[in-house]
């Protein structure tokens, strides 16, 4: 079955990633690097310094009076801009905060001036009177009976309930020898791409709207902008330059839309230059509290799992439904459970609106489930790997036969498992080398431990189609256009590989465009690790159609039956006679051939899982060293495995696994937006701790299985989100093994370790 591409000393020799040269020479142009269009002026937002406050008054007169200021948009003149504010999703943030500010960084006003310095200064001249209200920083607090209501018109802070179940948990608990209760929580964290979020250029021209911005979802953003300004979508042209990371956070921001409103008056291009601090107010991950009851038999079979999820979606519901639903359909981990139930309550808080975040809803639930498995193992005195083997889904297993989704009983329409998790798990464990000698780096008492974690994600198709176009120019080069923004994953490289392999031309003959919504090619956006499968299939289809046209043209112009022709090595062949593409299209009267294609795979639709593309397992094993005196945790070894179906570009696949793992170490050990003492305490690079090279285990091994059974081009599967969820549980379980005590939340700080050890008097 699956062939493993083992981590080798020297990587499999791929062609260099297509954007290598521009990225190592500093010539890759990110939006801030683009030369200012002639007449560019600058916009700066005024953001709320408070998490929750009533806006008593806002007075921009001193700002307007400042020489060089061209315009101010605030709640007092908002009505003059005749914007279709109702066109914004009612659960998304309003364009401006008008009655209350609901999170730190909520947008109060946008100032446009001739230069950035003046605009920033003008913002400091806007006088606002706030009546500070008590902030709500946890879902629990906002669901308390006496809690202030964030959105008065909704009358409640409880915004969304979801549930998912099969079997009968009560029956399950009746059969159980032991029932364990656990509470495990995952905090709000920030995506923190290195390129600040919110930098962009917007311009209202006579021909429509032009936007240059890093966006994960260009088509959706352009359509949204069109709705707000009441113009046709094709009159909004959004171009995506090189993007400095996203992880779910990059989009056309409300600040950009505010600037557009001013550009409509000024008819000038307006540039926004976001700071790292402002970025913390754009997007974060949902904080989730996972409360569970687990029924087990003495021999280690899990007979029932009953979960209650408390999801904190921040001040608005942006992306909340997906996160909560993903959390629900992931809350069972990857185990064969006869009886399962999850009920989720999502609530507003005075925090940055939560959005999709790499592995939305999964990083939190996988952490919880996998920690609970180890807790059960320790309680029953069974080896955690063995306990997993006794309960894990095996190839051919179905999750369930019928289930209840949001109260509705429906048949299970997702396929049986087609990946071999136990084998992957064993390989992950075997790949851990012998324990390195305890080096005296700490000089103190240390304990070592190993832990494993499993995750089972799935690829799911976006609600919109995935389209691409392939065009053959008279010079014989092929250009692929699409709207799948490369946030850094190597999407354009993947597209180039699929195109060249499909067409039988060299990669150097293929040019991959960057997203430009004027091409009107649909794509839901790079998320749910759908891009390789869906966009890959779309590119494959477009190129197949182009190939057909080419061969027909060849048969037409050079005679013979289309079946006599083939496309290989970048040339058209009939028998042993070959023609350059350029030669042929040139002869065709200088025609350029253009073909479009879409992902036409038919995916089963399931009430819970939506359009189901494929199973995507992730497996990891970690070894850590714990300093028993200080609680410091030092990762020693980490192995991570996934099944890529077919590897299209080894370095990119490995980069996704390693990159997800590195981000996972951040979630495991460091990352948390600390809302304390009435405000967000660490919204700056100094106090929000990202994982650094020094934090990484010196040995990180990856193995990529190639089962060849993926639904994507040439059998590919998505892997982008398989490695991030496993790190926190693998590390927590390794710590549990080392110190004999469980950890209940991330980030796993040294203090939490000391408390687990009982070295500090309890608190919190």
């Amino acid at each position: 079955m699956a062939r493993a591409t083992e981590d080798a000393a020297s990587p499999r020799d791929d062609a260099p990633r297509v954007d290598s040269w521009e990225k190592v020479t500093g010539t890759a142009a990110y939006v801030e690097d683009l030369p200012d269009p002639p007449g560019t002026v600058y916009a700066v937002p005024l953001e709320s310094p408070y998490a929750h406050a009533r806006i008593v008054s806002i007075d921009s007169s001193r700002a307007r009076a400042l020489p060089g200021v061209l315009g101010v948009l605030d709640r007092n003149n908002l009505h003059e801009f005749n914007l279709r504010l109702d066109a914004l999703d009612p659960l998304d943030p309003d364009l401006l905060a008008t009655d209350k500010v609901r999170f730190q960084g909520d947008l109060m006003a946008v100032v446009v001036a001739n230069d950035l310095r003046t605009a920033r200064h003008a913002v400091s001249l806007i006088d606002v009177d706030y009546e500070i209200l008590p902030p709500l920083f946890t879902a629990e607090a906002s669901l308390a009976p006496d809690a202030p209501i964030l959105h008065d018109h909704l009358g409640t802070n409880a915004i969304f309930e979801d549930s998912f179940a099969w079997g009968d948990v009560d029956e399950g608990f009746a059969q159980a020898d032991e029932i364990y209760e656990d509470v495990i929580s995952s905090p709000t964290v920030f995506h923190h791409p290195m390129e600040p979020i919110g930098t962009g250029v917007v311009h209202w021209t006579d021909d429509g709207i032009e936007i240059w911005a890093p966006s994960n979802t260009p088509m959706r953003d352009a359509a949204g902008v069109a709705r707000v300004f009441g113009i046709r979508p094709e009159r909004v042209r959004l171009r995506v330059p090189t993007v400095g990371g996203g992880f779910g956070a990059k989009k056309v921001t409300r600040e950009m839309i505010g600037a557009l409103a001013l550009s409509r008056r000024l008819r000038r291009p307006i540039k926004l230059v976001a700071t790292a601090e402002q970025s913390f107010a754009v997007a974060v991950r949902h904080a989730i509290e996972f409360r569970s009851r687990t029924g087990v038999t003495r021999d280690g079979r899990i007979v029932a799992l009953d979960v209650d999820l408390l999801v904190d979606c921040g001040a608005y519901f942006t992306g909340g439904r997906t996160a909560t639903h993903n959390a629900c359909i992931g809350a069972w981990g990857c185990y064969k459970l006869p009886n399962f139930r999850v009920r989720a309550q999502t609530a507003f808080t005075n925090k940055t609106p939560a959005t999709p975040h790499r592995g939305t809803g999964k990083t939190q639930t996988v952490f919880s489930v996998e920690c609970i498995i180890d807790r059960v193992a320790h309680r029953l005195g069974i080896d955690p790997v063995e306990l997993r083997n006794r309960n894990v889904l095996r190839p051919g297993d179905r999750v369930a036969d019928v289930w209840t989704v949001h109260g509705e009983v429906t048949p299970v329409n997702i396929p049986p498992l087609d990946v071999d998790i136990p084998t992957l798990m064993q390989q992950a464990v075997d790949m851990l080398g012998p324990t390195a000698p305890a080096n005296g780096s700490s000089g103190g008492r240390v304990a070592r431990g190993r832990g494993v974690a499993l995750s089972l994600r799935h690829g799911s198709k976006g609600e919109t189609e995935s389209q691409a176009a392939a065009e053959l120019a008279t010079d014989g080069t092929v250009t692929i256009s699409h709207n799948a923004a490369d946030l850094g994953q190597g999407i354009y490289n993947m597209i180039g590989i699929v195109a060249s392999r499909t067409l039988g031309v060299s990669q150097s003959q293929v040019r991959v465009e960057k997203p430009d919504t004027s091409n009107m090619l649909a794509f839901a956006g790079a998320s749910a690790q759908r891009t390789t499968v869906e966009m890959g299939n779309a590119v494959h289809a477009a190129c197949t159609n182009l190939k057909r046209q080419l061969i027909d043209l060849a048969a037409e112009t050079r005679g013979g039956d289309p079946n006599d022709w083939r496309l290989e090595e970048g040339k058209l062949w009939r028998g042993s006679e070959s023609f350059e593409l350029a030669e042929l299209v040139g002869a065709g009267g200088g025609v350029t051939l253009r073909a479009t294609g879409a992902d036409e795979e038919t995916y089963p639709h399931d009430k819970a899982f939506g359009l189901f593309e494929h199973w995507a397992p992730g497996v990891a094993a970690a070894e850590v060293e714990v300093d028993l005196d200080t609680g410091e945790v030092r990762p020693l070894q980490y192995t991570v495995l996934a099944d890529a179906g077919t590897v299209l570009h080894y370095n990119s696949a490995r980069g996704q696994l390693e990159g997800g793992a590195v981000m996972g170490f951040g979630l495991a050990l460091f990352e948390e937006m600390r809302y304390e003492e009435g405000q967000l305490q660490n919204a700056d690079a100094f106090q929000y701790r990202l994982p650094l090279l020094r934090d990484m285990p010196p040995t990180m091994s990856t193995a990529i299985m190639e089962s060849g059974e993926g639904p994507g081009p040439f059998g590919a599967r998505g892997i982008a989100q398989t490695s991030i969820p496993c790190v926190a549980p693998a590390v927590a379980n390794a710590i549990h093994a080392a110190i004999g005590a469980p950890i209940s939340s991330t980030p796993i700080t040294p203090e939490k370790v000391l408390r687990a050890l009982g070295s500090l008097e309890s608190q919190e």
Partner: protein
């Protein structure tokens, strides 16, 4: 955050009460507070405070409002101010309870619920919390000195 401080002053309960009940005198004991004006007797006062938190200079107009009082035992005032330029807001819910220790000795139990919001967070919680603790300590000390002064001249 909550800070408690206790000082003993050489005044009889009644005299001590007379002092704290003159809210302008009480507010005057807030470190760095100057120019306290009475807006409405026993209810509303204003002043200005200038102070440093490390290298960071805070200047704000203070608004002092009496929330509740029970002569001669307890007074609760809300001291709030905003430094617009630095984008910093301070709110202190200050309670002073008077406990008679002897004919000329009264203990003042100071309880302050303090909230400092804004850009100052960039200095780190550590700095802000420590500063608040120091401010309340100093407030207690000022109160003690002022009362001793009253005793001397009185």
């Amino acid at each position: 955050m909550h800070v408690d401080e206790h000082v003993t002053v050489p005044l009889a309960l009644g005299d001590a009460w007379d002092f704290v009940w003159q809210v302008d005198l009480l507010a005057g004991c807030v470190p760095g507070c100057t120019g306290v004006k009475m807006i409405e007797q026993g209810k509303h006062y204003t002043g200005r405070v200038a102070d440093r938190v490390g290298p960071y200079r805070v200047e704000m107009d203070l608004d002092v409002t009496v929330q509740e009082s029970t002569a001669p035992e307890m007074i609760r005032v809300l001291v709030s101010g905003q430094d617009r330029k630095m984008g910093t807001t301070q709110r202190m819910d200050l309670t002073v309870r008077l406990v008679e220790l002897g004919p000329a000795q009264t203990r003042l139990d100071i309880g302050a619920e303090v909230e400092i919001l804004g850009k100052i967070a960039a200095l780190g919680q550590f700095v802000v919390k420590r500063k608040v603790t120091d401010v309340i300590k100093k407030f207690g000390e000022n109160l003690r000195l002022a009362c001793t002064e009253v005793k001397r001249v009185g």
